[in-house]
Symmetry: C3
Subunit: 309 residues, 3 copies
C-alpha cells in the first residue's frame, strides 16, 4: 500500500525528505504519462472543494488536477452564498461534503481548521490554505519546481523576497525547505519581516539570514522567490510606494544574478516582477503554476489509490 | 420499459406506495453496485440545474448523484447573475436549459413552477423544491431513510417537530407518509402549526395529532424528525428564544425515547439538535444525507434509462 | 491535418465561405453521431472559460458543447470574485488558464482582447464575445441555422431588426453574411442604426438597405433576425416605449411574411418576439440555440483533434 493512501494533507511540517521525494518521483512519472493513461488514475472519483476564503487560482489548480486524472469536482467556491450562511457549523458542512465526494479540499482563514475538518470528515482532507502558515500543496509545488529546474534542492542558495509577515506561502515554503541543506536569505522591509512568533519554529528547521536590501546577496542566489507586497499592509501610502519600488525585480536586478538562477512567484503578481523578465530563461513562475497542476494531481492520485499509480 | 423513464418528478403526491417501493429497491441496488458499475448507468448524460432560490445543499446532492452514475452537471446556481436578470421568462430559460441537457433540475419559489416547466421543457424536469409544499426528492430521501433504518415504514410512530408552518420539507414528507399506515405527531409552537389551508389535503391522506409539548408523546416515537425554527418568523426575539429553547433535542430528551428510535433532520441544523446527539446510535441525519445522494442517483438513473438499471 | 487544429477563433472576418462550409458539414455529421461516438471526440479534454462579462447563456452553451464531445470545463464565470480583482493582468490570467486547460474560451468587453489573449496563450483561444463587433461562434451558429432551415444561404433575403447599434451579434452576423450572395435589410429606429464607423467595413463585404419601418420589406424576407431593444439605450422612457412597440414581431406581422420564412433571435428575448410566434413553423430560435450547442461542439472538436473527427 502506498503510504499516502487516504492520508490527510494538513501541514507541510508532516512531510519528511523521503516522503517529498516519493511525491516528486510520482510527479515526474505522471508528467510522462499519456493523457489517456492519466485519466485512469482516479477515473470517476469526485473531489469536493469547500472554500471559506475565495481563491480562484488554487481552486482551478485542483479542478484541473482532478480532471487530469479522470475525476470530477464539485463544491462551494464562495461560502457566502451557501447554507453555512444560515449558521451551519464547519463540522456539519465538512461531514456533508465528505458524503458527496471521495476527497475534500478545504480553504479556511483559521489555523487548525483543516486538522479539525480531518477529524470529523469521513474522507481525506487536503488543506488548500489555512491560517497564517499552512499551504502544504503550494509548498510541495514550490519544492518540486526548484528540484525540477535546478535538478536538486540541497546545496542551493535561496532568497525569498517581499511580504514575509503575512502570506502563508512563505511559511509553508520555509518549513518545507527545512528538510534540505539550503542557505536561505529573507529579504523584506523592516515592517514585513518574518513574524517573531514563528522564528523559533523555523529556526529549528533551518537557519536564515535576514536583509532589507535585495541587492545584498543577489549575486549569490540560485533561486529568487518573489511574493507580493500588499498596499493594505501599510498605514501610509507613501511608505508603501517607497518600499514597493525597492523590491521590484527587473532586468537590471536580473543582470546581477547568476546566469542559471531562477525566479519564482506563487502568482498572481502585480508589478513586483517586471514583465520584461517573463521572456528570460530565468523566469520559471509559469512553469511553477504548471507543476502545481501536476503535483496536485499526483497527491490526489496517491491519496485515492491504495497501490499508487 | 421502466415506468419512470423520461418521467417528470413534480410532486410527491403523484407517487403511490408501489412506486416508492420500486425506487427504494433500486436504491438498495445502486448502493451495492461497484463504483465502476454505477458510472455506466448514465455515462455522459448531462444534468442541468436551474435554481431560482439558492440551495447549495440540494444542488450538491444532485451534483454528486449525477457524478455517481457517470454523468455531469451544468447550470445556473444563482439566477441573479444570469440572463433572466434581463427579464427572460421562465419558459424560455427552461426551454434553453433543456436543450443543453438530458434532465432538468429546477428550484423555484412559486407553487406550480415545476409543473409549468415540465410542460414547456423538452426534457424531464425534477422539482428540487418549489412553493410552500413540494420537495419530492427530499421526501423520497426521508422515506428511504426511515425504511432503511427501521426496516419498515408501516406501523411506525413518527413525530415531526419544529417549524411546521413554513418549510416545504414537512409538507412533502407528510404527503409521502400518506401512503403508509403510520401514526403521526406534529409538534410545534402554536404560531408555527401546520397551515390550516393544507390540513384538509393532508387529512385526506393520514391522521395526525398536534401538540405544543415535545415531551408529551416522546416515549412513544420510533422516528423524531426535527426541523429548524427560524428566528425571522418571530416578530419578537424574546418569543423566539423561549420557543427555540423548548424544542432543542438533547441527550436528556433522547433518554426519554425508545432505545431503537431514530432522529432525522433535513439539514442544515443550527442547535435544534444538540451535537451531543451526533455520536449516539439514534442520530441518523448524516446517513439521511448520504441516502439523499443515492435516492437522487436512483431517480436520475431510472429517468434516463429506458430499461432501468 | 484539419485546418482548424489548434487554431484560434478570434473573428468571424477570418472565415471564408469554404471554411464555413467545412464547419457546417462537420456539424451535420456531429448531429448524426450517436452520443457514445460523440463523447470519443474530445474525451477527457478540458475547456477553460474566462468571462470578464457575465454571459450565462454563452457559457452554458460551451459547457454543454464540451460535455457533448466527452470533455469537461472549468473556469471563471464571474471575474469579480477572482484573483484578477487583485490586479492581475489579462496576460497572466490567460497564461495560467491555458496551463489548466486544452482550449480557452474568453469573453471580454474590449475589442482586441481575444487576439491579445491568443498571442500570450499556450492553448487555442476562442472568442466568446469581445468589444463591439466580434462574437464569431454566435455568427457561425446563426449562419448554420439559416443554412439548415433554408437549405442554403446564397440568394436569401434577410432582415435584421432591432438594436443595430449596440450588440455585437448583429455585426458578426453581417461580416459572416459577407461571404454569401444575400440581400440584407437593416431595420431599426433612427437612433439605433448600424454604427457609422462600421458601415465602410461592412459595405466592403455586402450591400444592405436600411429602413425604420419593419413592414416595408416584410413580405419579401426569407429570414427575419430579431434582436432586443434595450431600455437603457434611451434617455427618455416614452421614446423607448414608442420604439419598442413598433418592432414587436407578432402574428399580424407574421401573416405578412412568406409562408416559408423563418424567424431567428439570439436570445434571451423579452417581448420583441411575441410568444404566439413560438408555436408556428416559422419560429426557429430554439432550434438556433440547439444548433449553437452543435456548432460549438464541432469547432471544439476540430480545434482539439489533428485529424478532425
Amino acid at each position: 500500500m502506498n503510504e499516502f493512501y487516504q492520508k490527510d494533507i494538513i501541514s507541510i511540517k508532516e512531510f519528511d525528505k523521503e516522503q517529498l521525494e516519493k511525491i516528486f518521483v510520482s510527479t515526474d512519472k505522471i508528467m510522462k504519462l499519456q493523457p489517456i493513461e492519466r485519466r485512469e488514475i482516479s477515473k470517476g472519483k469526485t473531489l469536493a472543494y469547500l472554500f471559506y476564503e475565495p481563491s480562484t487560482r488554487t481552486r482551478l489548480s485542483f479542478d484541473s488536477a482532478i480532471a487530469l486524472i479522470g475525476g470530477n469536482s464539485l463544491g462551494i467556491s464562495d461560502i457566502s452564498s451557501s447554507s453555512t450562511q444560515k449558521g451551519e457549523s464547519l463540522a456539519d458542512t465538512v461531514k456533508i461534503m465528505s458524503i458527496y465526494s471521495d476527497v475534500l479540499v478545504l480553504r479556511h482563514p483559521l489555523d487548525g481548521s483543516s486538522r479539525f475538518a480531518a477529524e470529523v470528515s469521513s474522507k481525506p482532507v487536503i488543506n488548500a490554505g489555512s491560517g497564517t502558515e499552512e499551504h502544504p500543496t503550494q509548498a510541495i509545488q514550490d519544492l518540486f519546481t526548484i528540484r525540477k529546474e535546478k535538478k536538486k534542492i540541497d546545496g542551493l542558495k535561496i532568497g525569498i523576497v517581499g511580504d514575509l509577515k503575512y502570506g502563508r506561502t512563505v511559511y509553508s515554503l520555509l518549513y518545507g525547505l527545512g528538510n534540505y541543506d539550503v542557505t536561505v536569505y529573507l529579504i523584506s522591509p523592516e515592517s514585513l519581516r518574518i513574524r517573531s512568533d514563528s522564528v523559533y519554529e523555523i529556526k529549528k528547521r533551518l537557519s536564515f539570514t535576514e536583509s532589507t536590501d535585495i541587492e545584498e546577496y543577489i549575486d549569490d542566489l540560485d533561486v529568487l522567490y518573489v511574493t507580493r507586497i500588499q498596499k493594505e499592509r501599510f498605514p501610509d501610502e507613501e511608505e508603501y510606494l517607497k518600499v514597493k519600488g525597492s523590491y521590484i525585480v527587473g532586468l537590471d536586478l536580473l543582470q546581477q544574478m547568476k546566469n542559471d538562477s531562477i525566479i519564482l512567484h506563487p502568482l498572481p503578481r502585480l508589478d513586483e516582477v517586471s514583465i520584461d523578465i517573463d521572456s528570460t530563461k530565468n523566469a520559471k513562475y509559469f512553469e511553477q503554476a504548471e507543476y502545481g497542476k501536476y503535483t496536485r494531481a499526483t497527491l490526489l492520485g496517491l491519496i485515492l489509490n491504495k497501490d499508487g499509480f
